[in-house]
């Protein structure tokens, strides 16, 4: 038993921290405030930088603890950039890498790791989130190609994506287990139209939009892995990676809040001393540290379980996601309270992070869904006797 990072991971942490603080952090506020078209240009630059730094490639490798180590630094500098990078590398690149045919991997992955080719994952619809049975998008075989109809909703990166992974019904009657299929749909495909980015409360640098398939035609080699009916099984595995990534986003965001408000608590004085020396303020700093520290361990623990192919990883990634995302909101709230009126102002880091944090408890399975999954596991273990 050993809770320490190895030397490679420690070095990675240092390198990524220095890189992100220098290259990503300075643009984070502008990314949040800019009109969407300007933000997109800056975001593309960030993704290329992360590609050059080797981060996007790292997300396709198997050392999942390092995903967390490096990812925390990206999220600490700019959660919106983290989300966009995660959407292309983890939500698009990882499934390609794990399930894709040799030709599919060869075609897309090198661009993804460089940050030049942007991908995204499109599962959610207007009327279907965690309940995949509600999905309406279909794919029908016509000759040697497939025709997709339907629309996807709240898709991060959709408006800037060069390709997306779309979850569709290839056989509704076969049910979840055999009826769903992921298709790789490239930008410019006939009948594919991404919507304009929607205005979001937080993570404003990462564009989110609708995307519509209107008799959208793709070739038969667009089926992820080359075999239909594997969508649900693939989806479940993708979700583990994604839950882990949102947990990492939450810890990085929490760290940024804690550091910012600790700096403030040291420099701001009241009644003759730094406010952090007042017990009520200090207690808030202490709780921020506690949540981040435990949360980071839960992310590592879940990542380790995934690396070990431990079936517990399904529940442990949910535990990590639930704990860290709720903690991030609590931490952002405490951080704003420590900074008083200053943290309430537009343009301050804490105000931005407070809005960003709200995403984490909603996306990729709400806290309510995570609790349902976790509870079912414990309850089923004690069903009889």
């Amino acid at each position: 038993m050993n809770f320490e990072l190895n030397e490679t991971q420690k070095n990675l942490q240092k390198t990524m921290a220095a890189f992100c603080q220098k290259e990503i952090l300075p643009g984070a506020a502008a990314l949040d405030e800019s009109p969407k078209d300007q933000a997109v240009a800056a975001l593309r630059t960030n993704l290329k930088k992360l590609g050059n730094a080797g981060y996007l490639n790292l997300l396709l490798e198997n050392d999942l603890i390092s995903h967390g180590v490096a990812g925390e630094e990206v999220a600490r500098a700019c959660p919106a950039t983290f989300l966009s990078a995660m959407s292309t590398a983890t939500a698009f690149g990882v499934p390609l890498n794990r399930f894709g045919t040799a030709a599919q991997k060869g075609k897309y992955l090198s661009g993804v790791t460089k940050g030049e080719f942007i991908g995204c994952l499109a599962c959610t619809e207007m009327d279907a989130g965690s309940d995949l049975n509600g999905i309406k998008t279909t794919a029908e075989k016509k000759g040697d190609h497939w025709v997709l109809n339907g629309s996807k909703y709240l898709v991060t990166n959709a408006s800037i994506a060069d390709a997306l992974l779309a979850l569709t019904w290839t056989d509704r009657s076969a049910g979840l287990d055999k009826g769903l299929t992921f298709f790789i749909v490239e930008k410019g495909a006939r009948g594919l139209s991404p919507g304009k980015p929607m205005e979001t409360m937080g993570l404003r640098g990462a564009p989110v939009s609708e995307i519509t398939f209107d008799k959208c035609e793709v070739n038969s080699d667009a089926v992820l892995g080359g075999e239909t009916g594997r969508g649900y099984e693939q989806y479940l595995q993708i979700m583990e990676y994604v839950k882990l990534a949102i947990s990492t986003l939450s810890v990085g965001l929490g760290m940024a809040c804690m550091e910012e408000s600790t700096r403030y608590a040291k420099s701001r004085k009241a009644f003759g001393k730094p406010i952090g020396l007042f017990e009520s303020v200090g207690a808030k700093l202490a709780m921020m540290f506690t949540y981040n520290d435990l949360g980071r361990m839960m992310v590592s623990r879940a990542a380790w379980a995934m690396e070990q192919k431990d079936p517990e990883s399904v529940v442990l990634t949910s535990c990590a996601k639930l704990f860290t995302s709720e903690a991030a909101n609590e931490i952002a709230d405490l951080a704003m309270q420590v900074q008083g009126g200053h943290g309430y102002l537009k343009g301050t880091m804490v105000e931005r992070l407070y809005r960003d944090a709200r995403f984490a408890v909603i996306a990729y399975g709400t806290s309510e869904m995570q609790r349902a999954v976790i509870a079912k596991d414990s309850l089923d273990r004690f069903k009889s006797a």
């Binding site: 038993m1 050993n2 809770f3 320490e4 990072l5 190895n6 603890i65 600790t262 608590a265 040291k266 730094p274 952090g276 020396l277 017990e279 303020v281 200090g282 207690a283 700093l285 202490a286 709780m287 540290f289 506690t290 520290d293 435990l294 361990m297 839960m298 590592s300 623990r301 380790w304 379980a305 529940v315 442990l316 535990c319 639930l322 704990f323 309510e368 995570q370 609790r371 349902a372 976790i374 509870a375 079912k376 596991d377 414990s378 309850l379 273990r381 004690f382 069903k383 009889s384 006797a385």
Partner: protein, 382 residues
């Protein structure tokens, strides 16, 4: 990183769990109802080797590492043993014997450890006083050197095991003006002249451990019973924190697992509105939060233990985190378990009632949650 236990550690946990469930747990409910320490339980724990777990084999113990000690604590709690008996065990083994093991002279170790390791002698530790707890520098129990003896005067409060103990590890000050640097530790025996214990205090929870005040009236302690050297008491107390934040918290982790299992069973069995209550999301939410709490708690406890086993200095932030989270969240979860059981949860026959009373100690003993936050904040503000 490696979150796995060795096969040996896993097997040991299983053995202890089975033993505690079959031999000890059935005695606990009645003992708790009577607020009675059970020598029967104590003897069984001694025979199992639990009372001298970390003590080297040459002094009659098992020579177990920190992680193994924590696993044993977790297993006993998981088996359903009450917080009183696990607390008595903790105070004896980790606050008394472990301090002698770590700081004692060869003669002290030879004299005290073998009998403590078997449980033939019971031990305790006295740091807290009627007027001071975490503010140890405010300690008023004094020690004055007179020839080949120290003379102790003062009182200690909330001392777990005191009325049962043969061996007391006691903190006193040689010079109050030196604050922390004046604090010195002594091994005091029950039969030394001038030491006495008060009546057992009636506690909210952990009722089977016997807790009382200890009085020193010109208590004579031979010089060779100074533990660790003059003025080093504060360092000894701080060193105890790594036991406190791992091995003493481990039974709370086990108690939490026991609680979750009881809740899960009950939620499957109890019906309302024509369905098992497990189908209600309010019930599920409590179960899920308990599971998350347990996962986080295990990590907090075993990180402290593993870093000690791997030869690393204790990070005081990690120690504070373990304690504040497990104390506060643990109590919240124990209350959620009572809610889940409804009226039955309020009744003594159902273990969640006892668990809630026992869990309250997690927020108080060994430094309150408020103090933990102060410590963490102080380091952050440096």
């Amino acid at each position: 990183m490696d979150f796995s236990f060795t096969d040996e550690q896993r097997m040991f946990r299983e053995t202890v769990y089975r033993f505690a469930r079959e031999e000890i747990a059935p005695l606990c409910e009645e003992a708790d109802l009577k607020s009675e320490f059970s020598f029967d339980i104590w003897k069984k724990m001694g025979e199992m080797g639990l009372l001298g777990l970390p003590v080297p084999e040459q002094y009659g113990g098992q020579g177990a590492d920190f992680v193994t000690c924590c696993l044993a604590g977790e297993a006993v709690g998981h088996a359903g043993v009450d917080g009183g008996h696990t607390l008595a065990w903790g105070a004896h083994t980790y606050l008394c014997a472990a301090n002698i093991m770590q700081h004692g002279t060869e003669a002290q170790k030879k004299k005290y450890l073998p009998k403590l390791a078997t449980g033939e002698w019971i031990g305790c530790m006295g740091l807290t006083e009627p007027g001071c707890g975490s503010d140890a520098a405010a300690m008023t129990t004094t020690a004055v050197r007179k020839g080949d003896k120290y003379i102790l005067n003062g009182a200690k409060m909330f001392i777990t095991n005191a009325p049962l103990s043969q061996v007391f590890v006691v903190f006193a000050t040689l010079d109050k003006t030196q604050r922390h640097k004046g604090i010195t530790t002594f091994i005091v025996e029950k039969d030394f002249p001038g030491i006495s214990t008060g009546k057992p205090l009636h506690k909210m929870g952990c009722r089977c451990s016997v807790t009382s005040e200890v009085f020193f009236e010109d208590c004579e302690v031979p010089v060779e019973n100074c533990l660790g050297g003059e003025g080093l008491g504060w360092l000894i107390a701080l060193g105890g924190v790594e036991w406190d934040r791992s091995t003493l918290l481990a039974p709370f982790v086990g108690g939490g697992i026991f609680m979750l299992e009881n809740c899960a069973r009950y939620a499957n069995q109890r019906w309302a509105f024509k369905r098992p209550i497990r189908e209600f999301q309010s019930i599920q939410n409590r179960i899920a939060d308990m599971k998350v709490y347990l996962e986080a708690s295990k990590l907090a406890v075993y990180r402290v233990a593993a870093s000690k086993d791997n030869g690393m200095a204790l990070n005081p932030l990690y120690a504070g985190v373990s304690k504040v989270y497990m104390g506060d969240k643990g109590f919240e979860m124990s209350s959620a378990a009572v809610d889940l059981f409804g009226g039955y949860g309020y009744i003594h026959e159902y273990p969640v009632e006892r668990n809630m009373r026992d869990a309250k100690l997690g927020q108080l003993g060994g430094g309150t949650s408020d103090i933990m936050r102060m410590i963490v904040a102080r380091i952050m503000m440096m």
